[in-house]
């Protein structure tokens, strides 16, 4: 017995010594972490940002965002140029590039990828409309293309016929596609840069059936090698990728940052992309510190270890050659009132009082490491309609004013207000936010009862209008204020994206008029005005616009943050020689003396 156990222990210690794999520096490999499971790679269901990032490595659309230019600018991708738009603003005609090939796959005759044709886009967009596919992107095109809704309704509960002709969606010839809209809608172009509308070959969908989502076949720069949704997806370069070059111009300051060094280089630059799926933030960050991945966000708990109070990198991280990129994100966080609730409906003063009692400055420090910009309206900076000079009178902590408004609303000292239910999830951060809100409301005499839910429970409550109050965050789908203002548009009430169920006929009318205007300063002014008007009615308690902090290792080149980052891996470059040198030197694990840390 003693002897066997000893042998086992010895064998174990033998196995346990040096259990790390040897790294390989021969190929140019981009390695990244993602924080959530990837559901699969089917464009029509690439609803969450994780699936859409992965899907866009393999698939492509007619348009894309310019990699470097800011504000965000659309440019042709599979289209040869931006579309010809008819004078009435309803007809969009695109020419598509010739000679673009789908990845080699057994779904094609002889396993050879065939050429992309205009009809592939028609088919792909019809897939989005097909009710059977339950596309999470249908809202983008719902009611916008002539004949598409009719086609969708015709096949309700039946198998759709994809050979039907749709008047507003036609391939005029192999390389020309024409869209006819039901009404003017300039934001339509953004939907063609979103993953939902990317081109899929009909052969693949029909060959793989329900498994199509796990067998992606696109025209993109990468194709899937190993595909395990659970923990790792490995992509290899598409050997037949068409000729695409790195952009030669960018935004001011890009040249100085070295972002134009690869100008004119053929894309993609890396041979392989490895995506590790790591749901625990501590593990994700450790693997970045270890040099296993090339870039990382900063987990809330590591923030003080990495960032100094003056928003720079700490000496320890500078010494490792790590670089920091700070960019405002296109988003908004807020606490929603259910505006259909009898307590909040037509009770602006109560809502305003609650907004004034909520200290956003403190919550920004506590929950966002002080990296949020306090929101004055629902429109974030960086897009038309954001007015930097505007100050919302009901945003900002003012207890006296809050109490006064509360009395005016008929609840002096909070008397007469029943217990208000605040719904949240059981995640630590969310619970802390809920408790913070509870405390803030107690100061004006309002009792908040916090309900913790699982994520599915919370979704159900908000979608069925059963949540009285809850926290929300919205990340822009495209860089246009319409995408933010629609969060308060009456017809979008739950189960739509307007979870606050705010419905103001005046706002609805103005919003409908503004969203069909051509982009430009005139529309921006109307957007701004609309956002300010609605902000002062306080249908939601505005939070912050978050700022993204990204860390990258010295060997990662050409990285630029974007809210719409899908499809960007083709631009990145990894200096494998430098990576090898840094990793072998042990520099990433060197201790930095605290004196220098203090001095910085």
């Amino acid at each position: 017995m003693f002897r066997t156990t000893l042998t086992v222990l010895l064998a174990l210690s033998f196995v346990l010594t040096s259990c790390t794999k040897k790294r390989n520096f021969d190929e140019k490999v981009l390695t990244v972490n993602v924080s959530a499971k990837v559901k699969g790679l089917d464009p029509v269901n690439a609803g969450d940002s994780y699936s859409s990032n992965e899907t866009a490595r393999v698939y492509e659309g007619l348009l894309e965002y310019h990699y470097l230019k800011r504000p965000y600018e659309l440019q042709p991708n599979l289209a040869t140029s931006m579309p010809k738009v008819s004078d009435d603003g309803l007809t969009y005609t695109f020419n598509i590039k010739k000679g673009v090939k789908f990845h080699d796959n057994k779904c094609f005759p002889g396993g050879k990828g065939r050429e992309l044709k205009a009809k592939d886009f028609v088919y792909s967009i019809m897939r989005m409309a097909d009710l059977k596919n339950n596309s999470t992107g249908w809202w983008l095109l719902d009611g916008k293309i002539q004949g598409l809704n009719e086609w969708r309704d015709k096949y309700k509960g039946k198998t759709a016929n994809y050979d039907d002709k749709i008047s507003g969606l036609q391939a005029l010839d192999d390389y020309t596609i024409q869209f006819k809209l039901t009404q003017k809608y300039p934001q339509f172009l953004y939907s063609l840069a979103m993953v939902y509308t990317f081109a899929v070959p009909r052969e693949a969908v029909e060959t793989y059936g329900e498994d199509f989502i796990n067998n992606p076949v696109g025209t993109g720069p990468f194709m899937t090698g190993t595909y395990r949704q659970g923990n790792r997806i490995e992509y290899k370069r598409n050997p037949h990728y068409r000729t695409v070059y790195y952009p030669t111009e960018g935004a001011p300051g890009d040249k100085e940052k070295g972002l134009l060094k690869s100008a004119g280089k053929k894309l993609p630059i890396v041979d392989k992309v490895i995506v590790n799926i790591l749901t625990e933030s501590s593990t994700r960050f450790l693997s970045f510190e270890n040099g296993d991945v090339d870039l990382s966000e900063i987990p809330k708990d590591n923030f003080d270890q990495v960032i100094t109070p003056s928003k720079g990198l700490t000496a320890e991280f500078k010494h490792k050659g790590i670089e920091l990129e700070i960019t405002p994100d296109l988003d908004i966080t807020y606490i929603a009132f259910n505006n259909e609730d009898p307590l909040f409906k037509n009770n602006a003063k109560l809502r305003q009082a609650m907004s004034l009692a909520y200290n956003n400055k403190v919550s920004n420090k506590l929950f966002y490491n002080d990296r949020g910009l306090i929101a004055q309206t629902i429109i974030p900076p960086g897009i038309g309609g954001h007015d930097e000079t505007y100050k919302n009178p009901y945003q900002g902590y003012d207890l006296e004013k809050a109490k006064k408004l509360l009395a005016e609303a008929g609840y002096p000292g909070g008397k007469g207000i029943p217990e208000i239910y605040y719904e949240t999830t059981s995640a630590t951060g969310s619970r802390q936010m809920a408790e913070f809100f509870q405390k803030a409301m107690k100061d004006i005499g309002i009792t908040i009862k916090v309900n913790t839910n699982t994520w599915p429970q919370l979704t159900q409550k908000t979608k069925k209008k059963q949540a009285q109050m809850f926290g929300m965050a919205w990340l822009g789908d495209y860089p246009d204020a319409e995408n933010f203002l629609q969060l308060l548009y009456g017809p979008n009430a739950s189960p739509g994206p307007n979870g606050s169920n705010y419905n103001d006929p005046d706002f609805n009318k103005k919003f409908e008029a503004a969203k069909i205007m051509q982009p430009g300063p005139k529309r921006a002014k109307i957007y701004a005005q609309l956002a300010q008007e609605v902000a002062e009615k306080t249908p939601i308690i505005l939070g912050v616009h978050r700022t993204s902090y990204v860390l990258k290792h010295s060997w990662l080149r050409n990285y630029k943050f974007s809210t719409f980052k899908h499809g960007h891996a083709k631009y990145y470059d990894v200096d494998m020689k430098l990576k090898e040198k840094v990793l072998k030197s042990g520099k990433l694990k060197e201790e930095v003396k605290t004196e220098t840390a203090k001095a910085e």
């Binding site: 017995m1 794999k21 499971k37 923990n231 625990e280 599915p456 979704t459 979608k463 979008n492 739509g496």
Partner: protein
Amino acid sequence: MNGNLNYIIRRILYLIPVLLGVCFLIFVLFNVVAPDPVHMMLGKHPSQDQIVELREQLGLNKSMLAQYFDIVKSAFTFDFGRSWATKQQISTMFKNGAIPSLTLTIPAFTIATFTSIFFAVIVAYFRGRGIDLFIRITCISMMSISSLVYILVFQNFLAYEWGLFEISGYEYGFPNFLYYVSLPILIWVVLSLGPDIRFYRTLILDEIYQDYVRTARAKGLTEKVILFKHVLRNAMIPIVTYTVVQLPFLLLGSLLLESFFSIPGLGDMTINALNASDFPVLKAMAVFSAVAYIIFTLVQDIIYTVVDPRVKLQ
């Protein structure tokens, strides 16, 4: 022998009422009590017709009785269809998930059990003396620390600072998986040592004060012979009970370790299914664990007859 066979068949037949019960529980939990999964699956902009269509596709518009029979059918045919979230065949997901889970849990469990018994024998031998006290205090202190602390500290020091292990990840195939599972195995072993040593020590000490030990001692046998020839053999029954009961759970993987080390096992799969309201996967896991539990208790009964000839299956 005939009696044994009868017993085994009877026990396997017990599976039927138990599975029906499990199905009923699953039905109540998922089809009656749980929040509507449709809203989770349709994202942020669902339309009314999508909600109706998806409920139809998922079979949620059927009568309650029909929904219950759907569950019963899948439980008895072991065909759970596809995952709602990833659209993969659940049987494929199980196959892919079982390997990483087992490569982690079987070695971890074996090593942990043998090491614990080894230490338990030592402390039992030296009972009441310094070394016994020392190991017991160590065990209790080890048990007082949260398992998360072990994971974070080991990952930080052994994997990151000292570079002895991979921080996370998994690769299929021997010997590649060893690089990724050795640290989780080590943590599993360390986590089990505290409770296991104390448990096995109690089992052995229970035996040591039996009359037959006194007789053996009177006969003049050495402590060593008594411990290994008599006491340990008699302590085998409770040890088998304790270990075999844990076996079905090995199949289910380890929720925490798999999640922290990004090992794509069944534990990790369960957590994801929970977060995504992926009911078919959760139902499959529940049925699977019930069946595994019944089978392993049967195995346990059979092992009893091996370790103790006095036990007969009837």
